[in-house]
Structures are given as structure tokens and as C-alpha cells.
Amino acid sequence: MRERKPMAAGNDDFAFDALDWKIVGLLKENGRASNQDIATRLDVPRASVGNRIQKMTEAGALRIVAAADFSAYDYSVLIALAIKVQGRSPEQVARDLAELPAIFAVHLVTGAHQIEALIAVHEFGELAEAVMGSINAIAGIGHIDVCIATDVVYYNFDVGITR
């Protein structure tokens, strides 16, 4: 079986301790909390907050991000694709898909299909113009099962994939 976490830029041996988790907890609430705020709330020196954030970040274990709502970029159409691959390695197909800007997530999966991909576009017209042409040009795509998102009920993204 293929190793699950091969492309790691991070350090596999790095593990958070209790204070790391407390700092991370506050950063998940507010990624722009200053080192001083965090230090005061946890009653630890400011320098150790800075050092720990730096170490976690450098190990690839933590990323502090600004996430914009889909609507901030006028993304109003969200589509989930279940893709069956034929005659080509699913990983190569997934890498080709990942190149397309409209595709914001691509995963290799087990089951009846081999790839799960999520597409965000501004309007349906964009699918015909920009997206379907590019997808159809990728070799190895056998069948695509489409689900159009009508309502995102719940969305939590605070655990990410290895970079």
C-alpha cells in the first residue's frame, strides 16, 4: 500500500506538547492574536509563545491562515465531483486536476470512484467556458458523478493536509 504522507515538507516526529496545544487553541479562535495577548492569557513569557509558534510553523505542523468566505470572492456555485479513472494512474489525473484554479480540493479515495474533487465557480456559465473544457482535456477521466451543493450546512476546516 502506498505510504499515506509522502510529500511532507514537515517533520514527522514533531509532536505538540500541552502548552503548544493551548497556544494553538487560542490561534484557532483568532489567528491574529498577538504573541503578547497569548502570553498574557496563558501566563507564560512572550518570547516562548513566539518561539513555539515559529517551531510549530517551521515543522509544518501549524499554519496560520486568513480564510475568506466563498461569497467574498463571489463564489456562488459549489460542486462535488466523484471521478472514475480509466487507463491512467489516478494520481496523475488528480495532479492534472489540481492545476485547474477552479478546483479547490482533490483527493484520491477508495471505493467506486478514485478521485473526489470540489469545484467553486462564480456562476454556471463559467463551468461551460472555463471548467469543462479543461477537465475534458485531461486524459484518463472515465466518468464523473456530479452533486451540486444547494446549502453548506456545516463547514470546519481547521485540520489541514500536509504541505
Partner: protein, 152 residues
């Protein structure tokens, strides 16, 4: 379609913060040629309107050796909304989307083990009234995931 009235300043901030969420207000002001107070006001307005959120993303390996899985559910159509609310309350399911298509609900979960996936698809989902069919796909490798845009 709800168009959001963001201007170039807002978009400039979103772009810069998307690259580095901890850039200081002063650095942002300098990069965009704005007053620091404007940057502060704009960021506050964007976060108050829930168009922007600053958070920390932890690598999945810090959570043990979890399994990501996509669950596609076929449900009684009249009950899809109610079922999706039930799923949203289940801690391992981190994204729940109502969909139009071959399936009615797409849920994405982060599980501690394959046994836990089996427990969720077996015991939990099977006992929710209106769930007709569940298709499970376990993620073996994540090729791309852009968390710069999300449903906030």
C-alpha cells in the same frame, strides 16, 4: 445570488492576508498605500461580516493518524435538511453539504480510525430515520486543498 460589495482595498487585504495571516496592520498599510487606521477598520468590517476569519490549521498528523472520508448519503428527500442538521452535530463530521444530484448529502469526516468510520456508517447513520443509502470513500492521499476560501 448574493453579491457582496467588496472594493479593491478589501480584495487587496484578502489577497495579502491569504499569503500571510500574521502580517501587521502597519505592513498591510504600507503594501496597499493606506493609513493603518483604514486597514484596522477594514479588517474589522470584514471579520464582523463573517467574510474573513483568522484561524490556525493544524497538520492532521498532530491528531494521531486520522482517516479522512467522504460520505455520500441518499435520503428521503423531505428529510434531507433534518438529517443534515443531525450530521452537523456529530463531531467527526466536519463538513455537511446538501446537494442536488445522485446523492442528497455530502459529508466529509475526520475519523480516529477505520473502525470509527465503520461505527459511524454502521451504527450512527443506519439508525437515522430517512437515510436510505451511504457510500463511503476513504481518502488515501490529498493532492490539493485550498483553505483560503471556505464557508465561514
Amino acid at each position: 445570488m448574493n453579491r457582496i460589495d467588496l472594493d479593491d482595498i478589501d480584495r487587496g487585504l484578502l489577497d495579502l492576508l491569504g499569503e500571510d495571516a500574521r502580517l501587521s496592520n502597519r505592513a498591510l498599510a504600507r503594501a496597499l498605500g493606506l493609513a493603518e487606521g483604514t486597514v484596522r477598520t477594514r479588517i474589522k468590517r470584514l471579520t464582523d461580516r463573517r467574510l474573513l476569519r483568522f484561524t490556525a490549521i493544524t497538520d492532521h498528523r498532530q491528531h494521531g493518524n486520522p482517516e479522512f472520508a467522504f460520505l455520500r448519503l441518499r435520503t428521503d428527500l423531505n428529510m434531507a435538511r433534518e438529517i443534515s442538521d443531525t450530521l452537523a452535530g456529530y463531531p467527526q463530521l466536519r463538513t455537511v453539504i446538501l446537494t442536488l444530484g445522485n446523492f442528497n448529502i455530502l459529508a466529509i469526516g475526520l475519523f480516529d480510525s477505520r473502525e470509527e468510520i465503520a461505527a459511524v456508517t454502521g451504527d450512527f447513520l443506519a439508525n437515522i430515520a430517512g437515510v436510505l443509502d451511504v457510500e463511503v470513500s476513504i481518502v488515501t492521499a490529498s493532492i490539493k486543498y485550498n483553505e483560503r476560501t471556505a464557508k465561514l
